[in-house]
């Protein structure tokens, strides 16, 4: 297409789009010097307040009366039906399993009941943070959104969102959107607004994007949440650096810094529409700062691999995006000289593969070729001789977007996308390059995932995040699991909540796992942030907990106080349901519960 054609097309597009102007208002008059800015919506909220109060009361009454009928018509004999507030002295939280067929479907107008509840947030021994609804006796159990948690800040119990930001505090008067499911269980699926803080000092930062209807905030500088989210429990936030958000990038740990390179920015189906990013930067935990690195000799790419050889970062393979295809070249970056050098060409180009450093060689394994065919073979590169040698296929299903770690004598491969769409794998392989033998690691249905990360801590392999499901419906995991090859057993990480992500990166620093970038959905924004997980920061609470048994029963339970109960409801649209609950002894780090998370296949 010639430039003239492009200009003409663009002009016609502009003309067509210009119809949007009818919906673009003139700027509302503001006197910045005197009053600051007030949101238009706030003005509207203020005008609505008197009517809203009356409406809200009606909503609450209607929700109480109709909620159980509309949303919580749960069978009386359902074993996991919630117990009424305050009627149980059980030492552990009562699990609530909401049958998926009775659960609101996310993403639809009918997905969240339109009722509002008003009341005070109260601490509850079983449910973490509950709601003492206005005009209602007792307290209501709240099914909080995925990722929300109760965190003690000094002597105050804060309700924090998935970013670790305090949304409200116990004692606050709040307005909770959602509706009842079952008896006295409020599904908090609408907006959460603090109507009146417990005390002026207890006012949380405006984590919600919604204005407070009673105050009509003017967004004065003092209310601007400029401070980074607080670190919570064993999670520390990594400050944003010079890099834009991305996924399918690489990261290595050099011993002092994490080098992030390449990747894919926001939007688009990665394999078909991506325009990769050619830059990189290094994060230094010691100073909590970033430094840019030179772009180097390689074309921009994503879905490549990178290893650290003790002196260089070797980048190989990947996908150049829309026009560039699958790559078979690589280069090495030396931080000491801040320079790059090309390495010899390797095997056929591939992407979404993995690479590990054995101490003498880089083993590249798996991934997909330009034809889209996933592979179970690989190649080894020796930087001392700048040569490659082929590796035979291993006795495991071909895969891509899997993980691989080097334990010191073996490579552990886990999960990934198998042949065909929606075929995430739940098995792995222990590969010994000395005799080229491979031992399959038994499948575990709970660990089926792709696009996850894995690091080797010296004792265990930590698998974190990832996703499963058809591409258009993928939702991220936010849980972590640890595999001990000496016992062949899996455990769960006692992580505080953090937003799940996939196609991110993770490195082990010797004491922390640094997670950075990634996505929360296939076509959504890519993250430009990350966090550090320190298993030693739990101060007396176990960093690992036993994996609960798998069950198709909706009443799965565990003897562990700190646990995530995960079970699948096979047959009901292949839905995966998770429930977590509070550990009273470790509540400063634990999750509120119960809550629900639901992944739906389309």
């Amino acid at each position: 297409m010639s430039q003239h054609d492009e200009s003409e097309l663009l002009e016609r597009f502009r003309q067509r789009l210009s119809a949007i102007e009818a919906q673009v208002p003139e700027p509302p008059a503001r006197d910045f010097a005197r009053t600051g800015i007030r949101r238009r919506a706030d003005d509207a909220e203020q005008r609505r307040v008197p009517a809203l109060v009356a409406l809200l009361a009606s909503f609450v009454v209607l929700a109480v009366v109709l909620g159980p009928l509309l949303w919580g018509a749960l069978p009386a004999d359902r074993g996991a039906s919630p117990s009424p507030a305050g009627d149980s002295a059980a030492p552990r939280p009562t699990l609530v399993a909401v049958p998926t067929q009775e659960r609101p479907e996310p993403g639809t107008p009918q997905g969240c009941p339109a009722a509002l509840a008003f009341g005070e947030l109260v601490e509850h021994p079983e449910w973490g943070i509950a709601l003492a609804a206005d005009g209602q006796p007792g307290t209501d159990r709240v099914l909080w959104p995925h990722g929300f948690a109760g965190v003690w800040e000094s002597d105050r119990l804060a309700l924090v969102d998935g970013n670790g930001r305090a949304v409200a505090y116990v004692g606050d008067q709040v307005e909770l959107g959602g509706g009842f499911i079952g008896n006295n269980s409020w599904l908090a699926c609408g907006e959460i607004r603090v109507v009146a803080a417990a005390s002026p000092s207890a006012s949380p930062p405006p984590a919600s994007t919604s204005p407070s209807p009673s105050n009509g905030p003017t967004l004065a500088p003092s209310s601007e949440p400029t401070a980074p989210p607080p670190s919570v429990g064993n999670i520390r936030d990594i400050p944003e650096g010079p890099l834009v958000g991305r996924s399918h990038h690489s990261a290595v740990w050099t011993g002092s810094e994490m080098i992030v390179w390449g990747g894919l920015p926001d939007g688009g189906e990665p394999l078909r529409q991506g325009i990769p990013i050619p830059d990189g930067a290094a994060y230094l935990p010691a100073t909590d700062t970033w430094r840019p690195i030179p772009n180097g000799l390689l074309a921009a790419r994503f879905g490549h691999s990178a290893v650290w050889t003790a002196s260089e970062m070797i980048v190989w393979g990947g996908n150049a995006g829309h026009d560039g295809g699958i790559l078979a070249d690589g280069a090495a970056y030396d931080p000491a000289t801040d320079t790059w050098r090309l390495i010899s060409s390797g095997p056929a180009g591939r992407t979404l593969h993995t690479a590990v450093w054995t101490g003498t060689e880089m083993i590249v394994w798996g991934g997909v070729l330009a034809s889209g065919e996933p592979r179970a073979d690989g190649a080894a590169y020796d930087p001392a001789t700048d040569t490659w040698r082929d590796l035979p296929p291993l006795p495991v299903e071909p895969r891509s977007a899997h993980s691989a770690v080097w334990t010191g004598d073996s490579m552990i491969v886990w999960g990934g996308d198998g042949p065909g769409p929606g075929n995430e794998l739940d098995d792995g392989l222990l590969y010994d390059p000395t005799d080229q033998s491979g031992t399959r690691i038994a499948p575990d249905h709970l660990l089926r995932r792709a696009g996850h990360s894995a690091v080797w801590t010296g004792e265990r392999m930590i698998v974190w995040g990832g996703t499963q499901g058809r591409p258009a419906a993928r939702e991220p995991f936010s849980d972590g699991l640890a595999y001990d090859p000496s016992t062949g057993s899996w455990s769960m990480l006692n992580l505080v909540p953090s937003p799940g992500r996939f196609s991110h990166s993770a490195v082990w620093t010797g004491s922390e796992m640094l997670v950075w970038g990634g996505r929360t959905s296939v076509s959504g924004p890519a993250s430009a942030d990350g966090f550090a997980y320190d298993p030693e920061a739990l101060h007396g609470c176990a960093d690992l907990v036993d994996l609960p048994p798998v069950s198709d029963d909706s009443n799965t339970d565990s003897a562990n106080e700190v646990a995530e109960i995960v079970f699948t409801a096979e047959g009901a649209n292949d839905q995966l349901v998770r429930i977590r609950y509070t550990d009273p002894a470790c509540r400063s780090h634990s999750l509120l519960g119960p809550y629900i998370e639901m992944l739906l296949e389309e």
Partner: protein, 157 residues
């Protein structure tokens, strides 16, 4: 703050239009645009953008605010922090039907780059800053978007 008021008057509609195109919701556009200028107002005295880059800076802020809201809505599975997309009225139904058809043809980033290209005073570098890509990436994205549009002449009729 007279300078900021001028910036506000000059760029309010540009920011609003961009957010409206991203979210397809006038409510969202109302709130994000107001939020964007509120943040800009607070940050202006300490970190005024370079002359001539105000609009790009505002659009980048608006994009981040939209993304934040989108992330929050996505993370809260089953929640409705984002309102329903545009509510069709007699006045705008034709436009949004066209926009829906456009959305089926163009991926989000291609739509976005054209939305920004609609703004004649934005350079490739400005658009790249907003979208987090290089100027050549902007040109490539525009080219691909127009190529897609070329295959659907009914959308430009």
């Amino acid at each position: 703050m007279e300078d900021f008021e001028q910036v506000y008057m000059r760029h309010y509609r540009s920011v609003y239009r961009y957010v409206l195109g991203l979210t397809r919701s006038t409510d969202e556009a109302d709130e994000v645009t107001a939020d964007t200028f509120a943040r800009a107002f607070n940050a202006w005295p300490a970190k005024p953008p370079a002359a001539g880059t105000e609009l790009g800076w505002l659009l980048l802020t608006a994009r981040r605010r939209t993304t934040d809201r989108w992330r929050r809505a996505r993370r809260l599975v089953g929640l409705h922090f984002l309102r329903e997309p545009h509510t069709a009225t007699e006045q705008n139904v034709e436009f949004w039907l066209w926009f829906d058809a456009l959305s089926r043809i163009l991926p989000a980033r291609q739509r976005e780059v054209l939305l920004l290209r609609y703004q004649r005073d934005l350079s490739d570098a400005d658009i790249g800053m907003v979208m987090g890509i290089t100027p050549s990436g902007v040109r490539s994205l525009v080219s691909r978007a127009l190529e897609n549009l070329r295959a659907h002449p009914e959308l430009l009729a």
